[in-house]
Every structure is written in structure tokens, then in C-alpha cells.
């Protein structure tokens, strides 16, 4: 099957949507399908062979944060050429409401279209302004996918209608097979607690965790907080109390391989995110790597954790977080059981399962007579 994937965000910067599109394209190619990706990227950057750039991305303020998007007549011409060259059986757009390549492709393509909605934080004011403009082209979408129940509710509320839920995929084997890094592993009496995410983005919740660490260190002075993720380290350190800052180690942004080793090594992975999470792929990655997971009780997180595959605490309550951390660090058996349940749960989100569901959607929206080649 010839599949065209369109990502509205620049491939030059890391992001959940970009990783999803990249992994899906590679999985499809590995399983006998011809997958092409169209996304903004620097033309002189080292691009994977399946990726076509639709132009350099420009930082624009959209939907409450700065996104790197691309638009304009030159981009539109590149989108049209890519569609003509690709001769796709199905076009799979990501974030079709984002004013970038996806909208342009939706406008130009004549054939079966699948769209995936990733976000759970659409702003209704922006939506109602753009809506009359976009509605006729949204009608061209034959199959709508939401990556989580939260994203689906956003579709229902802001766009109307419905969508099927297919979660984001994770390469479980890659995370499960990671080798631990001794520097990030805890020792008896000095366990390590892992945090992963932008350290200067309040919604990622580092402040909640560092407030909780104060209590934890009072009872367990040897505990260490290992913080991975991009952002201003000095600012984050200054925001912590001196005793917490002294017990913390900042690793900066990690490569994919190091992220897997990090999650494999820490004694407890904590996701203190305070909101804005549509799915929580990082929880799945942590579970796949065999880390016991403790997450804030956001609906999206609770859904990923399922029944007993991870522990949770009341969102933004650092006292509750501290007592949960201590309860888990005090009890090795409990952590082992959580990690085991997490490994099982993570398999539900493996790419093999997720991608087969996405293929089933392609199958559903492509009339058999029009399909150019058979697939398994």
C-alpha cells in the first residue's frame, strides 16, 4: 500500500508527533508498504530517504505555545508536487487543524484521507474562528483517529463528531533491552528517583517533585533525584531548596538510547505532570524499560497505567507525592511487582499492535477497487 504521511511540525526539533510519524513510516516500510513523509525541515539538513521537506519551518505562536510551522505559496506548491509524485493509496495527516503542511495537503488531495488528532488542548476561541474555513475540507477525512480518550473528547467538543482511539506506539523491545547505567542506579540506602521532561516547563511538574523531595530527604537522606531533559539548569537549581539541589543531578537532554538506559536504571520513575498531557507516552516507555512508575492522577495517565501497572498520587499535591515515593522506596517487593505489571501493560502499546490497528483504518477507508496493490 502506498501511504503518504504528513507531519505539520518541523523534523529538526524533537516532539511527540514527529517521533510518532517517523516510527510509523519506518514500521510501514519494514512491513512491505511504501511510506513517504512530508514535513517541514531544513533543506540542507541530513534527512532520512523517506522524508520530503516542504520548506523551512518558522516559529509561530499557535494554540498557546510556539510551534515551528510552514505555510505560504511556496510550501503549497511543494505539497502539491509531493502529492502528485507520491500517487498515494491513502493520505495520513497528523494534526489536520494545525495551519501547516497538513491543512495544505488536506486541501489538495483527492482520495481517501485518514487524520490523527494528537492534542488534548485545542483552544475553542481559535477553533471557532477557523471553523467555517476548514469545515468543508474536514469533511474530506474518511477516518479520524485520536491518540487518547482525552484527544477524542477534544475532537468531540471542538470539532464535532467522533474519532476512533488508537494510542501512540512504543518500540517495547528497544526499551526492554536497554543496559543499565551504573551512575544512574541506586545503592542500598541511596535510591535514585528519575524525572524526564523539559525542566523549565511548569506543566511537566518538576517543582511538585522537588517540593516532595524535601520530605523524602528528611526520612531518607541518601536518596538522589536524577533529572533528564532540556531546559535552563541553573534556573531549575535555583528554584530548588539547597538540600534538594544538593541531592539532584541534571543530565540535560538525552538521546533515545540514553533515555532507555536512564529509565532502565532508576529505582523509581516519577511523572509529576500537572496537565496538558493527551496521552503520556513517556509512561509507556518507562514501563517498557521496566521502571516502576509513579504518576500524577491525570485522566490520560490513569488510562495508560490501567489496573495496577503503576502507582499514582493526587495531582499537584507534593505531600501526597512524598508519601507515595517513601512507601514505594521502602518496599522493594512492591516496586518489583509494579515493574512486572508495567512490562505486561506496555506490550498493549507496542508498535506491532498499534500499527496493525492503523493499517486496519487504512483498509477500512480504501475501497478495494481503487487500491493499487495488495498487502498482508
Amino acid at each position: 500500500m502506498r501511504v503518504g504521511l504528513v507531519c505539520p511540525y518541523s523534523f529538526d526539533v524533537p516532539g511527540g508527533v514527529q517521533f510518532h510519524v517517523r516510527d510509523l513510516a519506518e514500521w510501514l516500510a519494514a512491513h512491505g508498504h511504501a511510506a513517504q513523509v512530508l514535513a517541514p525541515a531544513d533543506d540542507d539538513a541530513d534527512l532520512p530517504p523517506y522524508l520530503t521537506s516542504c520548506g523551512r519551518a518558522i516559529p509561530v505562536r499557535y494554540n498557546g505555545s510556539v510551534a515551528r510551522l510552514t505555510f505560504g505559496p511556496v510550501t503549497a506548491a511543494r505539497v502539491n508536487r509531493w502529492l502528485a509524485d507520491g500517487d498515494f493509496d491513502v493520505l495520513h495527516l497528523h494534526e489536520p487543524m494545525t495551519p501547516s503542511a497538513s491543512v495544505l495537503a488536506l486541501w489538495a488531495f483527492d482520495g481517501p484521507i485518514v487524520a490523527t488528532f494528537h492534542t488534548a488542548t485545542l483552544r475553542s476561541r481559535a477553533m471557532s474562528a477557523a471553523y467555517p474555513l476548514l469545515r468543508p475540507s474536514l469533511e474530506k477525512i474518511s477516518g479520524r483517529i485520536a491518540v487518547s480518550e482525552a484527544a477524542r473528547r477534544t475532537v468531540i467538543r471542538h470539532i464535532g463528531g467522533d474519532a476512533v482511539v488508537i494510542p501512540n506506539g512504543v518500540d517495547v523491545a528497544a526499551f526492554a533491552g536497554a543496559r543499565p547505567e551504573p551512575a544512574w542506579c541506586g545503592r542500598p540506602g541511596a535510591p535514585t528517583i528519575g524525572f524526564l521532561g523539559r525542566i523549565d516547563e511548569p506543566r511537566k511538574g518538576l517543582a511538585v517533585l522537588s517540593a516532595a523531595m524535601e520530605h523524602v530527604l528528611g526520612r531518607m537522606p541518601g536518596a538522589r533525584l536524577v533529572v533528564a531533559g532540556p531546559g535552563d539548569v541553573d534556573g531549575a537549581r535555583d528554584a530548588m531548596s539547597p538540600v534538594v539541589a544538593a541531592a539532584s543531578e541534571f543530565l540535560g537532554p538525552l538521546s533515545d538510547a540514553d533515555k532507555a538506559r536512564f529509565l532502565h536504571s532508576v529505582d523509581l520513575y516519577v511523572a509529576p505532570n500537572t496537565g496538558g498531557e493527551s496521552f503520556g507516552i513517556i509512561l509507556v516507555e518507562a514501563m517498557a524499560a521496566g521502571a516502576p512508575v509513579l504518576a500524577s492522577d491525570l485522566p490520560a495517565f490513569l488510562r495508560v497505567l490501567g489496573e495496577g501497572a503503576g502507582a499514582s498520587f493526587t495531582n499537584e499535591d507534593s505531600g501526597a507525592l512524598a508519601s507515595e515515593i517513601l512507601r514505594l522506596l521502602d518496599n522493594d517487593g512492591l516496586r518489583v511487582a509494579l515493574a512486572a505489571a508495567g512490562s505486561v501493560r506496555a506490550r498493549d502499546f507496542d508498535w506491532s499492535i498499534v500499527a496493525n490497528d492503523i493499517l486496519a483504518v487504512y483498509d477500512t477507508v480504501t475501497p478495494p477497487g481503487l487500491r493499487s496493490r495488495a498487502w498482508n
Binding site: 469533511e139 486496519a360 483498509d363 477500512t364 475501497p367
Partner: protein, 191 residues
């Protein structure tokens, strides 16, 4: 204003109206085609689901009582067909023909007979029955998708057909108003 200007204005207006009417008709036509496509995908996968259920019932891996229940529900579903008239007629093939009850019954029977324990047992044997079970689950998943997409297409058609321009100029012709399809389509092992 000169007469010629009036004429040009009138012609431009008439052209504008004509363009809008043909655009609206094309938009509606595309939506009707989408409903029909989704319904035929739904139909094809329901047939596949029922066939796999029947195969599984006859494969000998189920106890005789479960097998009999499943075979009965599956053949009831296979006996019903969507009320297609002509395959190339966009105005037809937009109704589900009251199959909701038999399909809900099949879903319920699948749930009652293919419990998580039974599913795990069949899957671990890795025989032909395991493949049939996989086909059943794959078809069931596609049924969920097709039904969801169909009902979305129906909502789009109904909204556009409510527009004044479509009603006044009868752009929908004699096409019946499509109805959403609602039945229990759960699949064994739903997340």
C-alpha cells in the same frame, strides 16, 4: 451606472451563484459517496466476522455448547444482507437494513463464548483455530472503525443537507437521508 455595467454585474452574480450551487452539489455528492464507502466496508467486515465465527465454531476447539451458540449467532448474521440495489448507484446502498439486532447478538455471543480464558487457550495452541481467532478479532476491529467512520459521514451528510441552499435547490435529489448505525461492536480483548 451604465446598462453595460449592470449586465456585467448580473452575469457575474449569476456565475457566482452557479459556481456555488455546483460546488455544494459536488460537496454533497462526495459525502454521499463517503457514506456508501464506509457502509460497504462495514458490510464486508461484518460478513468476515461472521464467517470467522462460524469457522471457529466448527474447528473443534470450543466445547459443543459454546460452538452451537456461536454457530447459530454467526449464521443468523450471515443470512441478513444490506439492502443494496445497484452497486454503482450513489443513491442506494446507504441503509443498513435493520441488521443491528443480529449483529449485536453475535457480539454478545462472541463475548459469552470467547472469554479471555478461552481466547488465551486458543492463541497459545497456535493451530488453524488461532489464525481464525486472529481473523475474527481483525474483522471485529475493522467493524468498529467502519461503523465509527460511517456514522461520522452520516453526520456530515445530514448537516450539509440541512443547509438552505441544498434544500431550496433540491441538491440532494431523491437520495434518502442516511441513518447512523448503532449496535454493540465490542471485540474480545478490547483495551
Amino acid at each position: 451606472m451604465e446598462l453595460i455595467s449592470w449586465v456585467i454585474l448580473a452575469v457575474a452574480l449569476a456565475l457566482g451563484v452557479a459556481w456555488y450551487l455546483s460546488y455544494s452539489a459536488a460537496r454533497l455528492d462526495r459525502l454521499h459517496a463517503k457514506v456508501e464507502g464506509a457502509l460497504s466496508a462495514l458490510d464486508a467486515n461484518l460478513v468476515r466476522r461472521a464467517e470467522s465465527s462460524l469457522e471457529l465454531a466448527n474447528s473443534g476447539v470450543l466445547d459443543p455448547a459454546s460452538a452451537l451458540l456461536l454457530a447459530t449467532a454467526a449464521s443468523d448474521a450471515l443470512e441478513r444482507e444490506t439492502e443494496h440495489a445497484l452497486p454503482d448507484d450513489l443513491l442506494d446502498g446507504q441503509r443498513f437494513g435493520g441488521r443491528e439486532d443480529v449483529e449485536s447478538d453475535l457480539t454478545e455471543t462472541i463475548r459469552a463464548t470467547l472469554t479471555p480464558g478461552v481466547v488465551a487457550q486458543i492463541a497459545s495452541d497456535e493451530g488453524p483455530a488461532a489464525e481464525e481467532l486472529e481473523r475474527l478479532i481483525a474483522a471485529g476491529r475493522r467493524v468498529q472503525f467502519a461503523r465509527n467512520f460511517h456514522n461520522q459521514a452520516v453526520r456530515d451528510v445530514r448537516r450539509v443537507r440541512g443547509k438552505r441552499v441544498v434544500r431550496w435547490f433540491r441538491l440532494a435529489g431523491h437520495a434518502e437521508l442516511p441513518e447512523p448505525v448503532d449496535f454493540d461492536d465490542a471485540v474480545p480483548g478490547d483495551r
